[in-house]
């Protein structure tokens, strides 16, 4: 079969099993778009901004586990994609980004719409390629998918100069079944000796805790994690990225840990004598001040990326490998071992944990006359029966969604943790809805975040992706305001906008349904009404208590045992501010 470069690219994507490409055309990719036009196996989703393309592809990838695919033109198309590439990179999301490039002979001449995409993207990709020969396109695409999806996943950029996609130049096409890269061999199973040592330490623990993260979701090891935790009976905490990997409604689950984690999760970490970190990377939002982190614990760490191990926190037993096979190996050893978890110690430990739990650190003022954001999320949870895909933007609303929507399944909670990219939620929701048209998809956002990719409302209409946008409108960049309240004597420097669009009208202008809700008793019926509109995107502009803060909180420079808790319930009611 003889094909042009453009056709080879599209055919390669098809042979790779790609369902959707999220993209935006331009000069350097015209040949590619012409090739897309002439087939309909790979569906193209035309976004309204290239950042939206990357987040939509990212949302698709997070929900399905399959790589997201993006196509952008050279120059501004490529630079617009960078934020989304960096977002995927920080959370280890598999993604392949194809960017057009100016023709080979003019590369380096400051040609029209030329940027050094390989150079610009280098620090935020797992790998990138500049393809210089039409005969190398298929192989490079195969390599890109292989690298993006194996080991620690991540985005891969393939930069394709226009002239090698020329429809007049045809070459034989064959999509490789397999590629091997001599310099790239990600580890799979862990070191047997290390695993054995880890099991011995775990079984001897008096105050153990299981700290699991995004790696469990990425490694499709939720079932194994759940079985592992049940087998041991130890308390489990998840990072923001790990939520859903262990059922949040289970009694062994003690909540998220870290900066806005639960009191019980952080106290359990602090007092523990053995920690097993599973696919989690000891992020600074999780550890708090490093010198104060888990002073009594010996640490086991399972991670596929050796560089994640002992990067910030020194660990005692590192295990480099995939979560799934390593947990399977550990369970076998645990079952065969003549040692069993120390029952008495564990009972005492649980008693202590339950005491921390009894503080009910997530309680909030339920009698408020203003809409409490926490209440909205609880109602969202109930109305969707805890079974929706929830995407979010970045800020207070993100933390409330994480704290109050109890995720029981992996891949249901879709948010930007590592980069914390405002603007992520809406396009990501579109990507999720395309992947699962029958599932409920809601985007929990804030009035500031939603404006960063609001144009994608238009994409949602064109591709009929009915999602529900839950705008927790506190008329503040709440997360910024909260820090200013705590650390800058309430000097709210530029953390609010004097002009906020009329979101109902805005949603309607984009062809969707808009609803404004400003009384607590309206929340439930509005949510029910919105979710009953199966084929419409509904924008719920929910006017919340603008003074509400996210609690608990570990402030900068503090340790896990030193959390700021909500002090007096009900002090933030202020009708006038609403």
């Amino acid at each position: 079969m003889e094909l042009s470069g453009g056709q080879i690219l599209v055919q390669s994507l098809k042979d790779e099993g790609v369902e959707y490409i999220f993209g935006y055309p331009g000069g350097a990719v015209l040949h590619l778009y012409d090739a897309i036009f002439q087939q309909d196996d790979v569906k193209h989703i035309l976004v309204r901004h290239e950042q939206g393309a990357t987040h939509a592809a990212d949302g698709y990838a997070r929900a399905t586990g399959r790589p997201g695919v993006v196509l952008v033109t050279s120059g501004p198309g490529a630079t617009n994609a960078i934020t989304g590439i960096a977002t995927a990179y920080m959370d280890s999301i598999p993604m392949v980004v194809i960017s057009g490039q100016v023709s080979l002979p003019v590369i380096g001449s400051d040609a029209f719409q030329e940027v050094d995409m390989v150079g610009i993207s280098r620090p935020c990709v797992k790998h990138n390629f500049l393809v210089k020969d039409v005969t190398k396109i298929a192989e490079t695409i195969k390599k890109a998918f292989y690298i993006a999806t194996t080991g620690r996943p991540g985005p891969v950029v393939v930069d394709i100069p226009k002239d090698i996609t020329d429809p007049k130049i045809k070459v034989p096409y064959k999509y490789p079944k397999k590629v091997s890269i001599r310099s790239y061999n990600p580890a799979v199973s862990g070191h047997k000796g290390q695993i054995k040592k880890a099991v011995e330490l775990l079984l001897a623990a008096q105050k153990p805790v299981i700290y699991s993260g995004g790696g469990v979701v990425l490694g499709e090891a939720s079932a194994e994690l759940t079985e592992f935790c049940r087998l041991l009976g130890y308390p489990v905490t998840n990072t923001l990225m790990g939520l859903g990997a262990y059922p949040s409604t289970d009694k062994q689950f003690i909540g998220m840990l870290g900066m806005h984690g639960t009191y019980e999760a952080n106290m359990t970490m602090h007092d523990s004598d053995v920690i097993i970190a599973i696919g989690a990377r000891f992020d600074d939002r999780v550890t708090g001040k490093l010198d104060l982190f888990c002073p009594y614990a010996k640490i086991i760490h399972i991670d596929i990326d050796p560089a994640s191990i002992s990067k910030t926190v020194k660990v005692d037993i590192p295990i480099v490998g995939e979560v799934k096979p390593v947990l399977e190996q550990m369970m076998e050893l645990i079952k065969d071992s003549k040692h069993k978890p120390d029952k008495t110690a564990l009972e005492a430990w649980w008693q202590q944990i339950d005491q921390w739990r009894s503080l009910q650190c997530l309680e909030y003022d339920r009698d408020s006359l203003l809409i409490k954001p926490q209440y909205v999320i609880e109602q969202l949870y109930e109305v969707t029966k805890g079974d929706a895909y929830i995407t979010s933007d970045v800020g207070q609303h993100q933390m409330w969604a994480a704290q109050y929507y109890r995720f029981d399944k992996p891949r249901r909670w879709i948010n930007s943790g590592g980069l914390g990219t405002m603007g992520f939620g809406l396009p990501a929701a579109i990507g999720v809805k395309l992947a699962f048209p029958d599932a409920e998809v809601a985007c929990v956002t804030g009035e500031a975040s939603i404006q960063m990719c609001i144009q994608e409302l238009s994409t949602a209409l064109q591709y009929k992706t009915p999602i529900k946008i839950i705008n927790l409108n506190n008329r503040y960049m709440g997360m910024v305001r909260q820090w200013q309240e705590f650390s800058y004597e309430s000097r709210y420097s530029h953390s609010y906008m004097d002009t906020i669009p009329e979101f109902v009208q805005l949603a309607e202008a984009y062809g969707h349904v808009g609803m404004r809700i400003d009384k607590p008793e309206e929340v439930r019926p509005a949510l029910e009404k919105a979710f009953a509109m199966k084929d419409r995107t509904v924008f719920l502009d929910i006017i919340t208590d603008r003074t509400e803060n996210v609690y608990p909180m570990i402030e900068a420079g503090k340790g896990h045992h030193d959390m700021k808790l909500r002090v007096a319930l009900g002090t933030s009611i202020d009708r006038e501010l609403a």
């Binding site: 280098r122 620090p123 500049l130 890269i181 001599r182 310099s183 990326d305 050796p306 560089a307 990067k311």
Partner: protein, 163 residues
């Protein structure tokens, strides 16, 4: 502590910038960098000198290994090794300093590569400290240029860094 890291890397355009970019992005320092193709034209060898405590060096080697283009690497400081650097020094000469410079070059087993009525170019090879010592022995005002390759290194014994 000073470490010499020897890297086998795909001989591809952009590979070197991945290594350099990693060091600047993560705030590691590069004291010197020497690169050339190996006997296998598909591979280049980078010798990189860096400083840092054990934890930093561990992260550096892990992060380098993560680069897809890096095939293999070793930290030469971990074992017995030989280290050499090449230096060329251009020195202003006068009637009465020429003999002195020649004998100094001899002591350092250097070679005089270029001679003009008013200058010498001296080549010295050896461990970096030897090169430092030579420079220190020359009158500073007479030095026109110093060109150093940066150290390269190889481990002693049978074992080596290859595919």
């Amino acid at each position: 502590m000073r470490h010499i890291i020897s890297i086998l890397i795909e001989n591809e355009s952009g590979a070197l910038s991945r290594v350099a970019g990693l060091f600047s992005a993560r705030g590691y320092n590069i004291e010197s960098l020497a690169v050339a193709v190996t006997e296998d034209p598909s591979l280049s060898r980078i010798t990189l000198v860096t400083r840092g405590n054990e934890d930093i060096i561990e992260q550096i080697t892990k992060q380098l290994n993560k680069l897809i283009d890096v095939v293999k690497l070793i930290d030469l400081a971990e074992s017995d090794h030989i280290e050499r650097e090449l230096m060329m020094v251009k020195i202003k000469t006068s009637e009465h300093t020429r003999a002195e410079i020649r004998s100094l070059a001899d002591i350092f087993r250097g070679k005089i590569l270029d001679v003009t009525p008013t200058s010498y170019v001296v080549e010295i090879t050896g461990p970096s400290e030897k090169l430092d010592a030579f420079v220190a022995a020359i009158e500073p005002e007479t030095i026109v240029e110093v060109v150093r390759s940066g150290p390269t290194g190889i481990s002693r014994g049978e074992k080596g860094l290859h595919l």
